[in-house]
C-alpha cells in the first residue's frame, strides 16, 4: 500500500449527505470483470438517460475531473461494501476524503487502500466547505498527515483528529496482512484452544464431531 504523508491539489466539493456506494460505483448494466474505474465514478449521476454528460454535475466540471481530495457530508459511503467505490476515487487521483461522518465499512475500505479518511466536526466542516466552494478549484488545498492539518487559501488552517494507529498505518503504508501474520503463533494457539473448548466452532460441518 502506498504511504500517505502530505498531499496538495484540487479539493472537490460534493456536499451531499448519505452518499451511497451504489451511486459512487454503480453496477452499470451488470457486473464486468475489469472496469475503468474513472469511467464508473458516479456514472449515472454524470450522464442523463440518453448518455449525454450533465455539464454542471461537479465531477463533469473541467476543474473537478481529477483532484486530490473530496469534501462531502454525513454518512458518506453508506450501503454496499463494494471496494470499487474507493477505487473510483483513486482512479481520479483522490487520496483524501473529508466528511462530517463516514459509513463504517467505507472508512475501513479507505484505510485499506491508503486513502486518508478525515471526519470534521460541524464548525470546521462548515469553514472548510465554504473555502472549497469559494476556491472552486482555482486554488489548491493541502492535507498534512504528519502535522494533522488541512491548509487552504487565505491562511486557512484546520486541525483534524485521527487515531494514532490509523495515522501510523497510513504514514508507513503498512501491509495489513503482513502486520497480522506477525501474530501467526497466537492464531494457531487460538485454533487449538477453540478445538478443545468449542469444538463445533472449528469444524464447518459439525455433524460428524
Amino acid at each position: 500500500m502506498k504511504a500517505f504523508t502530505r498531499i496538495m491539489g484540487t479539493a472537490i466539493p460534493f456536499l451531499e449527505d448519505d452518499v451511497n456506494t451504489d451511486q459512487i460505483a454503480p453496477m452499470g448494466a451488470g457486473a464486468r470483470m475489469s472496469e475503468d474505474y474513472a469511467q464508473t465514478l458516479f456514472q449515472h449521476r454524470r450522464h442523463s438517460a440518453d448518455g449525454a454528460e450533465i455539464p454542471d454535475f461537479v465531477f463533469n466540471q473541467p476543474q473537478f475531473r481529477t483532484g486530490a481530495m473530496l469534501i462531502s457530508g454525513r454518512n458518506f459511503g453508506c450501503g454496499s461494501s463494494r471496494e470499487s467505490a474507493v477505487w473510483t476515487f483513486l482512479a481520479i487521483g483522490v487520496t483524501c476524503i473529508i466528511t462530517r461522518s463516514f459509513a463504517d465499512m467505507y472508512r475501513e475500505n479507505c484505510l485499506q487502500n491508503g486513502i486518508l479518511p478525515i471526519t470534521l466536526p460541524d464548525a470546521q466542516a462548515d469553514q472548510l466547505e465554504a473555502a472549497v466552494v469559494a476556491a472552486n478549484g482555482a486554488a489548491p488545498f493541502a492535507v498534512d498527515l504528519v502535522s494533522q492539518e488541512i491548509k487552504g487559501p487565505h491562511g486557512l488552517r484546520i486541525a483534524f483528529d485521527i487515531s494514532p494507529a490509523d495515522r501510523a498505518r497510513l504514514l508507513e503504508g503498512l501491509d495489513d496482512i503482513g502486520l497480522t501474520l506477525k501474530h501467526k503463533a497466537e492464531i494457531e494457539a487460538f485454533e487449538k484452544k477453540m478445538a478443545q473448548h468449542i469444538p463445533w466452532s472449528q469444524r464447518a460441518d459439525a455433524s460428524s464431531l
Binding site: 449527505d17 450501503g79 487515531s163 494507529a165 460441518d205 459439525a206
Partner: protein, 468 residues
Amino acid sequence: MGRSIFDKIWDAHVVCQRMDGRDLLFIDRHITHELHAPHAFKKLKAAGRKVRRPDITFSALDHTPASTPGRDDNTNPQSKPFLDAVRAASRENGVRVFDLDDADYGISHVVGPEIGMVLPGATHAVPDSHACTVGGLGALAFGCGTTELEHVLATQVMALVRPKRMRVHLEGKIGALASAKDVALKILSQIGVSGGRGHIIEFAGPVARALSIEGRLTLCNLTIEMGSRSGLVAPDDKTFDWLYGRPWAPKGAMWDRALAHWRTLPSDEDAIFEREVTVDCHGLQPQITWGTDPAQVIEVNGHAPNPADLPAEQRGAIERALDYMGLQAGQPLVGLPVHRIFIGSCTNARLPDLQEAAEIVRGQHVAQGVVALVSAGSARVKREAEAIGVDKVFRDAGFIWGESACSMCAGANGDRGEAGERILSTTNRNFENRQGRGVRTHLVGPALAAAAAIAGKIVDVPKMKAGE
C-alpha cells in the same frame, strides 16, 4: 459488570491485540462470492499466500448467475468469467464451491443458516454488506471489502476496532398483516440510515422474541441499512429448535454441549449499552419506502411527504427523492401503477416469505403488463417450495418461477428494470438506479409485493384483506 451477547461473542473470539491496537477477531465461518473474490484470490496468489483455513472457507456463486429457469453458466454471458475465476481459485486452495448444480446452492446469507453452518455465538464474514443477516441466529457477522476479504483468506482473522453497543427494544404486537420486513422498515423510519453507525445492534423485546427465525434473519438483514455493520437477536429455544437436525449442526452429545454453551450467550440483565432505543410496533401495518433511501418509509396507506412541511435544510433531499420517484408532494402511494414485482434476495426469499406471498396470489392472476419474478433464496428453499406446490401457485398466477440468485436485488446478473418503471421489491435497497437506470424501487414485504402484482398497482393490503 454484565456483558451483552455482543461482548460475549467478541471476547471469545479475540486472538490478541495487534500492535496497532486493533483486535484480531477469529472468523469461524467465511463465505466469499464470485463478484469480489476473484480480485482477492488474485492478490493473495501474487503475494505468494494461500487460504489459511480452506476447511471453514466457502465460495458462493450468487451475485451474477441468471435467474432464468433452467439457466447455466452461459445464460448470462457476463457471469461466466466470474464463475470460472472463483472455481479455479477455490480448487487451487481446496475451498468448496456451492456451485450452480450443488444441492446447497444459494445466496450465501441464506445457505449459511439453513444448512446449519452458521451457529449461535459464531463469527462470520462475507464480502457482502448483508453478512449481518445471520445475526438472526445469534451469530456475529461482518460484511467486508475486497482487501479485508483477502486478509481473512490469508489469516482467518479480521483486524477490527471494537464497536459500541446499541439495543433496540421492539415493543408491542405487530398487526396480523405485517411481517419482519415491516418491523425493519419501521425501525429505519425512526433511527435513519446512520442511526446505528459505529455500533452493533441487539434487537430485543417482545417483537424480536415473537418473530420466527426466518423473520429474525430478515430483520437482521437490514441492520446495515441502519448504518450498523452488524446486528443480532439473542438465541432462544426457537433458535435451537430451528437448528436441530440441520445437516451441518452438531449432533448427539456434541449438540448437548453446544446447547449448554448457547444458553449462556444472551445479554446479562445488567449489561451496558452505549445507546438504547425503543420502537413501538403495536398494531404495525405493512410499510413501504416512498423514496430513494431505505429510511424513507411510510405505512402503505400513507402519503409521500410534502417538502413545504419540512425545515428548509431537509427540503432539497426530499424534493430530489420525490422527483426521482415520480411522485408529487403529499401524494398517496396506494393506486400507483406498478410495472415489475420482485420477490427474492437474502432479505425475503426464505420459505415462509414465499408462502406468505403465495397465500395472497393463490387462484388469482398477475395484472396485465406486469412482470413478476420470484427467485428463491437457495436451491433448498426452491425444492421445499416445489414440494408443497408453492411454485405452482406462482406459475399458475403468471409469475416467473426463476432460479435462485441475487437477481434483481443488485442487478449484477443483468436482471434489471427499464427507466421509469416502478418496482415493488422485497429486497433491501431502493437507491437510485440500483435495479436499473431510472428504475423506481419501493421496498416492501412479500405480502404487499404479491398483492401489487395481482392488482397492477400499489394496494392497501389491510383494506384489501378486509374485503373493501
